[in-house]
Subunit: 226 residues, 2 copies
């Protein structure tokens, strides 16, 4: 880590295969679509291989579909986009396949009631910290929390004007994820702290849901002055 | 509350007197300066009236200085910008003066160690919820968390390009605070949810501190698509 390094100088990640666990859900499907459309090799994972294959065929752009274990095994970078309810169970079952992989958790633990969305607080502090606790052999980061699944999946949307906050313990790993985010037109990947500060980034989605309701929007986040 | 109302149609707040508790600290002084410069009647409050008067004289633009109780009593809107450590004590002592007032909490409960800043979790959930618990007679909102005290206080900075996330239980109260934020050139006041979702907005400052270190910036937040 050289503190004088230009923080916008990011590695070339165009050759890395990106797996998306929960790739048949709205968020996972949207991320897979955007990355594949940007030229990234992408595999969507699902509990059932057939569902993953069907989603892959729909997504096009060379996306492949495998069951979660195959997806994890064949990918360099693995995005975790499963529902919060299945987060711990899914990761525990993939501990071996995810060893040594760069894992990107984008799960937002939220509850909903008639007053809207609210943040849940995982015992470990955040979904990302839960992933790090469950996957001692993986390189866990957190990113891609604030993206609208609607915009991600809409083929008519050319650019997604937003920043992706990237959290993690290793600068090199964060920079890989930042570079991945930057492949999607309109997006920047911005380093935004260590995993112990992931909870508020995950939980901010509850606020974006309030913004979306009030302003009839698909709100995202931009950081200013950078 | 009329759900079809244009969310950008905000009340005229130019005649309201704004008090800033903790108005001699960096954040409080910065907010007082920006609001007064925009033409708002402003009173800075401090434990010691002389310190408030000295800060007011330095700030100019018609700012007045009073002790905290006087500041609370003579203001319509009271911004709480005290250090987290003094938050509960300060508010408890002003329960009577703040009854009926519109209170805007902008306090970020943070801890610091050699790895940087991290979020503290108040027993009530957030600083804003602590204020609401301590001030049953006041109208408590939360806002102005993500502003750089450096930019706020720099007279050479004409515009502060950022959004102010406003949280609260009453739409009318939130709109008053949104209108107040909008008086400062470059700022928008955006409704961002109920007080139960204030913690992550407060805590996000820990992430902005990481961003500032990495990018040598005074980062703020803009919401996109609104």
């Amino acid at each position: 880590m050289t503190p004088t390094k230009d923080p916008w100088e990011l590695p070339d990640v165009s050759g890395l295969t990106v797996g998306v666990l929960g790739g048949t859900g709205d968020q996972g499907r949207g991320l897979a679509y955007r990355l594949a459309r940007a030229g990234q090799p992408v595999i969507v994972g699902s509990r059932a291989a057939e569902r993953a294959e069907a989603a892959a065929a729909e997504l096009g752009h060379g996306v492949r579909g495998l069951d979660n274990a195959g997806c994890a095994r064949e990918s360099d970078v693995v995005i975790v986009a499963v529902p919060w309810e299945g987060h711990a169970r899914t990761l525990e079952a993939l501990r071996e396949e995810l060893a040594g992989k760069l894992v990107v958790d984008c799960v937002n633990p939220l509850g909903f009631d008639k007053r809207g969305a609210y943040a849940l607080v995982p015992e470990e502090g955040s979904a990302a910290q839960q992933a790090a606790a469950l996957l001692p052999g993986a390189r866990v980061t957190a990113a891609f929390h604030h993206l609208s699944a609607v915009l991600l999946q809409d083929p008519a949307v050319e650019k997604i004007d937003t920043d992706v906050m990237v959290l993690g313990e290793s600068r090199a790993d964060c920079e890989l994820v930042q570079a991945l985010a930057a492949r999607i037109p309109g997006m920047r990947g911005v380093y935004a702290g260590r995993l112990r500060n992931a909870h508020q980034v995950e939980a901010l989605v509850a606020n974006l849901i309030s913004v979306n309701r009030r302003y009839h929007a698909h709100a995202g986040v931009r950081l200013t002055d950078i």
